[in-house]
């Protein structure tokens, strides 16, 4: 069983966001970059499957700038066996452009399962996974909280607003990992040492036969980015008299919110 795990590198979730000088991206000065949190679930699942089967590769694929190398190293330290880094300015690419890059890489690799995260934290698109599956002509299941691997097929449990869907797919298939799928491991010293011996294969768009125009800002372009409009300050009341406070909340709910 060979798995591909698509990972993206994103600002740590604690980051204070500042808008960059171009007015349409964030200022990356001082930002700590990490593996996108949902991609950690994706990686862990692939590594677990490899451990259970005792065979196969877990190949990490990332399209991103030079700095993304540290995220790839981190994945190798946590159990991935191979890595391919397509170097490019992924923030300027639209989701279908990213999917095209990933599809071009994955087509040339053996793959039974392709894993992505439920969403790339930051851009918060949730688009690349199903787009990639479509380009590869394989089935996809999003928001997966449990996965069972059978013979030539998988059973994926998908979380919806109100229920859990159980979906059976023939392989190859693409799975978008949701929190709850597993508990991602931390990198061990041994893993970090072993990862150092693995060469990261690096590629350019041209190597993949793709033109800039296929990938960058072709269909969707970010034209502006701004901080949220400040909300007018709310009202704070003292709750040391609980009954008075309760009455004031009820008045607010009734008169201003019209909750009842």
């Amino acid at each position: 069983m060979n798995s591909i795990v698509c990972i993206t590198q994103v600002p740590d979730t604690e980051t204070r966001i500042k808008i960059g000088g171009d007015g349409r991206s964030i200022d990356e000065t001082g930002v700590k970059f990490v593996v996108s949190p949902y991609d950690e679930y994706a990686l862990e699942e692939a590594v677990k499957i490899r451990e259970a089967k005792g065979a196969g590769d877990v190949t990490v694929v990332c399209f991103g700038p030079e700095r993304a190398q540290s995220a790839i190293r981190d994945c190798l330290a946590r159990g991935a066996t191979k890595a391919i880094h397509v170097i490019g300015d992924s923030l300027r690419a639209d989701s279908l452009g990213i999917a095209k890059v990933l599809a071009a890489v994955i087509r040339s690799q053996p793959h039974d399962l392709v894993f992505v995260g439920k969403q790339g934290v930051g851009t918060d698109n949730s688009l690349v996974g199903p787009m990639l599956a479509e380009l590869l002509g394989i089935a996809h299941v999003t928001v997966v909280t449990k996965l069972e691997v059978g013979d030539g097929k998988v059973t994926a449990y998908r979380e919806t607003e109100i229920a859990e869907e159980v979906i059976e797919c023939s392989l190859p298939a693409l799975v978008a990992a949701q929190k709850g799928l597993n508990n991602p491991r931390f990198a061990s010293i041994k893993g970090i040492m072993a990862a150092k011996k693995i060469a990261i294969e690096s590629k350019t768009l041209a190597d993949l036969g793709l033109a800039e125009g296929d990938v960058y800002e072709t269909r969707v372009k970010v034209v502006a980015m701004e901080l949220p409009r400040e909300k007018p300050a709310g009202r704070k009341i003292d709750g040391s008299d609980p009954v008075a406070a309760a009455k004031e909340i009820v008045r607010y709910l009734h008169e201003e919110v019209k909750a009842f």
Partner: protein, 324 residues
């Protein structure tokens, strides 16, 4: 001129609330683009929604009535929706960002070679292009994106676009010649939790509790308050991780993003990851004993006090007020 197609979800012959919201913004876009508003619905009860669609200004409802489309299935829905996009020659395709819409839009986009903007909170037609505003970095910033492809696809965040009917109108039904082919993925079961609870995703009112509740048994107070208000129950990650409540209830960056009319946060500090899931709610009430808690920065009404003292009279007062 650009025509608009709204991909709707129909349940028992009725449009879902989220689809009514998508139709409303679809109608505004059609007016701005000088085009017509059309809709697509699928499944065996889809055609029954025609009159309701007409009341939202839909000219033609494209229907794929095959029962294979009753439950959401990505491959079937993608191929049926593509039929509708082609039949309506839509330049703008809008749907709501439900679990079906989020799954369908990107697959359809890739099939059509179209750009997609997901989870948008505003849409406009400007200079012959669809422009969308969407939260990024968990709501810590907003991006304006321009979609240059034809068609342009957008999924709308729940509650961001108020649903407004225009009155009764005639809506034509056009049956698409779609039939089910083979699929690689099959829905084998749907596990619906045995609960009478309101679902978080489309609740008008959400009441959430956090570690300030001290222990798991006290979460019952969150249920009581939510019940009194007819709302859904939510939670911070802290108490989900501690196993007090199922993770389906978690609100925040790694949980659900909600934007109800009313969000009440009880004993929740307001960490940035929690705010990411609720700060776009219309009205926010917070109860916390720490006057410096960050939750007060987003609260419209903040009550500095002990939740154990305030909740009992609050639940009583609400019941009294509702009995009137």
């Amino acid at each position: 001129m650009a025509d608009v197609l709204v991909i709707c979800e129909v349940k028992d012959g009725k449009l879902k609330k989220s689809s009514r919201e998508a139709l409303t913004i679809g109608r505004q876009l059609a007016a701005a683009a000088g085009g017509s508003l059309n809709a697509f619905a699928c499944g065996s009860s889809a055609a029954a929604a025609a009159a309701e669609a007409g009341s939202f200004g839909v000219a033609t409802l494209h229907v794929a009535g095959d029962a294979a489309l009753d439950a959401y299935a990505s491959e079937h829905w993608t191929s049926a929706a593509k039929f509708a996009v082609e039949a309506s020659s839509a330049a703008i395709v809008v749907m709501s960002a439900t679990s079906a819409g989020r799954d369908l839009a990107p697959r359809l986009g890739a099939r059509l070679g179209a750009g997609v903007a997901s989870d948008v909170v505003a849409l406009e037609w400007a200079d012959g292009k669809l422009r969308a505003r969407r939260p990024v970095y968990s709501g810590k910033a907003f991006a304006t994106v321009e979609i240059g492809s034809n068609p342009a696809i957008a999924t709308c965040r729940a509650n961001a676009f108020p649903a407004e009917a225009t009155g009764a109108g005639a809506c034509e039904v056009s049956n698409l010649a779609w039939s089910a082919g083979d699929t690689k993925a099959k829905l084998v079961a749907v596990n619906v939790p045995e609960t009478t609870e309101v679902s978080l995703a489309d609740a008008d009112v959400v009441v959430s509790g956090g570690r300030g509740l001290k222990e798991t048994a006290n979460y019952a107070m969150i249920h009581d308050l939510a019940h009194a208000l007819g709302g859904a129950t939510g939670a911070s990650r802290a108490i989900v991780d501690d196993g007090w409540v199922d993770h389906h209830h978690q609100v925040g960056q790694t949980g659900r993003v909600v934007s109800p009319n009313l969000y009440i946060a009880i004993g929740i500090s307001g960490a940035i990851q929690h705010l990411a899931g609720m700060s776009s709610s219309k009205h926010i009430v917070a109860i916390n004993k720490d006057g410096e808690a960050p939750i007060f920065r987003v609260a419209d009404l903040g009550v500095v006090g002990d939740l154990f003292q305030i909740l009992p009279p609050l639940i009583e007062e609400i019941k009294k007020a509702k009995a009137h």
